[in-house]
Amino acid sequence: MSWQAIFAAMLPEHILLAGLVGLIVLEIVADHPRGSLGVSIVTVCLAAVAALALNLGGVHADPFPGQYSVLPGMSLAKALVLAFALPVLLFAREERTNLRFYPLLLSSLYGFCLIVSAESFLTLFLGLELMSLPVYVLVLLGIRRPDSAEAALKYLVLGGTATALFLMGVALLYGGAASLSIAAFATALHSPDVMARAAVVLIVTAFFIKAAIVPFHAWAPDAYEGASIPVTAFMATIIKAGVLLAVVRLVGTEPLARPMIDLLAILPLVSIVWGNLAAMRQTSFRRMIAYSSIAHAGYLFYAFLGDGATRFQGVVFYLVAYGLANLLAFAALPRGGEDIAADRLDNFKGLFRRRPYAALMIGIAMLSLAGIPPFPGFIAKFLIFRNVMAAGYTTYAVLGLVGSYLGIYFYLRVIQFMFMSADEPEKAPGTVRIALAASVLCLVGIAIFALLPGFVLARL
C-alpha cells in the first residue's frame, strides 16, 4: 500500500488526533480557551464525514496488516457513532462543562475507532483502554456532585476487573493458538478444548461487565447518576456502542451452536427482565435510564443469536436507534443547577405545561426506547427479534419480547408525569434550558430511521 492509501484509510483517526493535539495546544497558549467547543465540533464532524466517505468509497484496506483493517460496513458504523458525539458536544455547551471534557472526549472517540478497526487483540485492547480511561476521568469531572468520586471509583474498579479478565482470556487464547489475531476467538467458539472455552467465558464476561449486563451491572446506575449530563449521554451511547462493536469484531459472522448461544443469551435475557423491573422503582431519571440501558444491552447481545450475516446490521441499527432516543431525551432534559435533585422524576411533573416541546421530545424518546411503533426503537427491536426467531431460537425470542413488555411501564410513567400531573415540583429547577440544536438533530435522525428504515438497512 502506498503511504497515501494508508493515510487515507485512517483519516478519521488522524482527524481526531489532530483535533486532540489542537485542543491541547489551545489550552497551553490561551488563557481562556473559548474555542475548545468549536474545535471539537469541527473535528468530530470532519471525522464522521471522513468515515462516511470511506464507506461510500467502499474502501477495503489493511494499513497495518494483521493489526488494523478498514471495511466499508465498519466505516459506516464509525461514521454513525462519531455523529453521536455531536449532540453530546452540543449539550456540553449548555452545561458550561469543564474544559478538560473536550480532549478527553476526543481521545475516547479515538479509542472507539481503533476498536471498530481492530484485527488483533493488541489493537483491540489499546482501543478499549483508550476509550474507557478518559471516561473514568470524565465521570469524576462532574465534581460538583457529591457522588461523582464514588461513582468514578466504582466504575474504575469494575472497568479494571473487566480489563483483567479480558487480558487473562487473551492470554489463554494465545497459549492455545499462538496468535493474537482476533480470529482466534471465533475459532475458540467451537473448540472443545477447556482452555479455549475458559478463554471465551473470560472474554465474554469482560464485555458483559463493560456493557453492564446483569449481574455485572451495579456500576452503571451510580456512574450514570454521578456524571454530568453530557458524560452520562456519552456513556449510554458511544461507550456502549464501542463495547458492542468490539463483540461484533470478535464473534463476527461465525456460526454459533448451543452452549455458546446460551452463554450469549441467558444473562442478556436476565438483564432485559431485571433492568426493566428495577427501572420501575427509580426516582431519579438518570438511574432509570441506567437500568433501561442495562435492559437495552440485553437486547443488543440478543443480536448475536441471529445468523452471522445479520449480527452487524442488528447491532448497528439497534445502537443507532437506541442512541438517538437516549440523546434526544438528554437533549430535551430541562437542566439548571447541577444538583442531583434537578434530576428527580418528580421534577418532570407538569413539564408539558411549562415546556411543551421539551415534554413532547422526551415523550418521543421514551416511546422509542419502549419500542412502541412507529418510532425507530420498535423497528430495531423487530429487527433483532426477527433475526433471533429466524435462527430458530423461538423460546429466547418470545421470552425477550415478554421481557421488553415489562419495560413499557416505566417509560410510560415518565410520560404520565410530564403530561398528566398538574403538580408543580416543589422546587422548580432554576433556569430551564434545553439543548435545542442537539434535540433537533436527534429528531431528524429519528425521523429518517422511522420513515426510511429500508434505506438505512440496505446500507448496513
Binding site: L367, I372, P374, F382, F385, R386, T394, L401, L457
Partner: protein, 512 residues
Amino acid sequence: MADATLLSIVLYLPLAGIAMLVAVARGNDELVRRISLAVMTLQFVLTAVLYAHFDGAVAGLQFETRTPWIADWGVYYHIGLDGMSILLVLLTAFLGPLVVAGAFSAITRDVKLFYAMVFLIQFAMLGTFVAQDLFLFYLFWETMLIPMFLIIGIWGGERRIYATIKFFLYTAFGSILMLAAVIYLVYSLQQSSGITSFAFTDLYKAQLPLSTQVVLLAAFGLSFAIKVPMVPLHTWLPDAHVEAPTAGSVILAGVLLKMGTYGFMKLGFPLFPDATRMLVPAIMALSVISIIYGACLALVQNDIKKIIAYSSISHLGYVMLGLASLDLVGIQGAVIQMVSHGLTAAGLFLMVGMIYERCHTRDLAAYGGLAKLLPVYSVYFMVLTLASVGLPTTSGFTGEFLVLLGAFRASWQMHLQGATLPLVLSSLAVLGVVLGALYMLRFAQGFMFGAAKAPHQPLQDLGFRERAILAIIVAAVFWLGLFPEGPMQKTEQAAKQYRELVMTERLPGGAR
C-alpha cells in the same frame, strides 16, 4: 388511479390537520376547534365519495397503492380497501367530526394537544383499516395506543391515570404476543415457500401444521380479544370508558373496539383457517358468554357510562358470534352490527357526556323524569336506546337479526352433523336480546321517567350544536336500519372471500 390518490388524501388528512394546529398561535382555542371540525368534515366528505365509488361487485382490493418500503424484509407500503374496510373507514370518518364537535364545550384545557391527539388516533385507526401489509398494520395498530393513552390520561376523570395505564398495559401485552406471532408467521412462510412477505394475500397462503396454527391463532386472538373485548379480557374497558372524556369514550366504543373484530376477520381467522374451524364451538361459546355476561353486568350498574360500556361487550359478542358462524349472512350481519354499534354507542356516550356537562354526575340514582326536564334530549335518548336494543327499522335490528339468523343456520348444520353445542349456544344468544332490552329499558326508565330529579337544576335543553350532532347520528341509524341493502351489497364480496379463506384447508401436504 385517481381514487387511490383520494384514499391517500383521506388517510393523511389528519396529519395535515395536526400541522395546521401546530401553526395556530397559543391560546387561540376557538380557531383550533374550527380548523379541527373543518378538516374532519372534509375528511368525511371525501370518504363518502370513496364509498360511492367503491364497486361492491368486484372481489378483492380497490383503491390500492403499493410501493416497496423496507426492501430487505419484503415489507411494502400497501394500502387499499375491501368491502369490509370501506364500511369501517366510512364509520371512522363519520364519527370524526362528531367527536370533534362533541368536545367543543367539554375540553377547555390543552385544547391544541387534544385535537392533535384526536387527529393522530384518527390517522392510526384509518391506517389500520386500510393497511394490507402486516408490518404496516402492526405499526398503525400500536400507534393507536399512544393518543388514546394521552386522551384518557390527560383529560379523563379522577382515576384516569389508573385507567389509562391499565388500558395501555392490557393492550400492549396482547400486542407483544401478536408481534412474536407475526415474526414467526412470516418466518414460517419464508421457510415453506421461499417468499419473504408481509402482504396479507401472501400470508393467506401460508401452510402451517395444526398445532402451530392453534398457537399463533391464540397469540393473535389474545391481542384482538383484548381489544374487542371478550370476557374474561374485558376488565380494562369499564375503567377506560368511565374515566375517559366523552370524546375518548366515543372513539373507544365507536371505532377502537371494532379493531379487535376487524382483526379477527381480516387476520386471525383467515390466517389460521384450520385452527379456526376446529375452535368454532369454543369461539362461539366465548362470544355467547360475552353477550350474556356483558348484559348481566350492564343490568346491575349504577354508573350510566358503565351501563353502556358493558352493553358494548355484549354487542360485540354478537359480532364475534356472526364471524364465528362462518355463514355468509352471519358474517355480513357482523359487519353491519359493527357499524351499528359504532353509531349507537357513540351516540349514547355523547348523550351521557351532554348530561354530565350539565349535572356533573353519572350516578343513575341521581336522575329521574328527564323526559319532563329535557324533552328534546329525551327523544334522542329514547331513539338511541331503542336502536341499541335492536328495534326494527333501526340499525341495531339489522345487525343482530342477521347475526342470529346466520348463527342458527350454521349451528343447525352442525347439529345435523351431530354437534349440538353450537345450537344451544345460538339459542342462548337470543337470551342476550331479551337481557339487552331489559338493561336498556331499566336504564331509560330510571333515567327519563318517574319523579323529575336531577342535580344542578334548572337544566338547559340541547343547544343547536348538540341537536345537530345527534340528528346526524339518528339519521345514520335509520339509514342503516331501513336501507341495509346498500352496505350489504358493498360487503358481500368481502364476506364471501373471508368465508372462502376460512373454509379452505391449508395444512401442509399430508402433515397433520
